[in-house]
Amino acid sequence: MMSILWPLITIALALGIMLTSASALVWLERRMLALWQDRYGPNRVGPFGLLQVIADTLKMFFKEDWIPPFADKTVFFIAPMVIMTTALLSVAVVPFAPGFSVVDLNIGLLFFLAMSSMGVYSVALAGWASNNKYSLLGGLRASAQMISYEVFMGLSLMGVVMLAGSFNLRDIVEAQEHLWFCVPQFIGLVIFCIAGLAETHRIPFDLPEAESELVAGFHSEYSGMKFGMFFVGEYLGITLISAMIVTLFFGGWYGPILPPIIWFFLKVFVFQCGFILLRATLPRLRYDQLMSFGWKYMLPLSLINILITGAIILAKR
């Protein structure tokens, strides 16, 4: 009986943790942005405005769920689901603590990359199905951006895979018991952070939804909970990228005194705050800058990183 129950419990826990942290992140981002911009932020609903997220969710549920008459109805309906599904599926391979992950896949890292590469469909299909020129432009930008940065994301992680000798995320964490990979793989870490930011299309890479030129980009036509799913999907993406940075470069659950799971979430929290700080600091890139930065600097840098890592590993043998 326990053999059936335990996986179900882990799935429920992982889902609960991720969704709660994603919605808490919405509140955290608004409060922190307010702090940095010298204003109050949401502080009326509940203590410190903590219940603001619940109020917003309720509001979104009761808004009219409108599909424009000129839209492709089926695809319009599917698009917001994809972003949530792929983000939540990736959570399955994240090792929260020793023995606490939904599945212990041997191709865990590949699975994560595959799911993040499928996330692009949500944005591209939303842009196309809205049948609106701003949305279409947003969708086009998103698909080109994500397909480019996915390449660097994959390549930046190959150094980690070479050091750990496995695609299994648990093995990768265990290989960092003595030295976190952020030291030998510093270039990989920087590239992964940038690529992860581009994959979640947040500032400075939020060209698909650049409000000063494209209204709201790919989600211009979305309202109600369908918009809410894009919204939550973005925060799930940040949580996931932070969790992956911690797993791959900062020793996952390892840390002194405190229990492993607490260490994991503490580290994730630090990176989530870092991503919010980035949003508060950086301006939006131009599209040609985005592409030339990716293909002219990130690609050669990640290839050189792989080459050097390989050479050092060979020399050490």
Binding site: D72, T74, V75, I78, L105, N106, I107, L110, F111, L113, A114, M115, S116, S117, M118, V120, Y121, A124, L125, G127, W128, N131, L136, G139, L140, S143, A144, M146, I147, E150, G154, F167, R286, D288, Q289, S292
Partner: protein, 208 residues
């Protein structure tokens, strides 16, 4: 018992979905819907790979085909007019060519099925956890290694990349460069789709 039964059920589910989605690919009225159905077909085959314990292949299938190639197709479809596929009768020659192509593919598939021995016994089943084995085989230059095909493919890819650059890179525009509003960095990156002179020629043609 339950495990093997659910295995069978999942297999038929994946197979049926793959067939249905393939039919949707060829019968869809909109190009983009065909592309989405294609994504479904490829994901189903990734599922079949997982059932065959080829999890690395499944991961790569999703990463490269579903997340890469079909996205490129979607990208290309979005760049074209989102008009419906032409529904009028194609020319007879195209019908004949299409029939020949599909018959040839059918013959090839049937031939492969008839000539390959299917291992039904569990004795010679492929190894579990074969990711390491794939890596070793790919770079093994002894007997049974695949380093030569691997290198040939990498050479082929290099040629394809250079070819792509040559095709995409037009000759230097001779006329006045297209300006993007005084931003020098942008101007350096921007290649106009046509030169000013060509555009004037076109305008003249239109006027005539």
């Amino acid at each position: 018992m339950i495990a093997s039964a659910s295995y069978t059920v999942i297999f038929y589910l994946l197979a049926a979905l793959a067939v249905l989605l393939s039919l949707a690919v060829v019968n869809a009225w909109k190009l983009l819907r065909a592309a989405i159905a294609l994504m479904g077909v490829l994901s189903m085959s990734a599922g079949l790979y997982v059932m065959l314990d080829a999890s690395f292949l499944a991961g790569v299938q999703v990463l490269v085909y579903v997340g890469g190639i079909v996205v490129l197709i979607v990208f290309a479809v979005m760049l074209t007019r989102s008009a419906e596929l032409l529904q009028d009768n194609p020319a007879p020659l195209r019908k004949i060519l299409g029939a020949i192509a599909s018959l040839a593919f059918l013959a090839a598939t049937v031939g492969v099925f008839r000539s390959s021995p299917f291992l039904l016994s569990a004795e010679k089943a492929p190894l579990r956890d074969n990711t390491t084995l794939i890596g070793e085989k790919l770079l093994d230059y002894g007997a049974g290694g695949y380093v030569l095909p691997f290198e040939i493919i990498s050479l082929l890819l290099l040629i394809a990349i250079i070819g792509g650059i040559v095709v995409a890179r037009k000759t230097e525009p001779q006329g006045q460069p297209f300006t993007t509003g005084g931003d020098e960095a942008g101007e350096a990156e921007f290649r106009p789709p046509f030169t000013q002179e060509e555009h004037e020629d076109e305008l003249e043609l239109v006027e005539k």
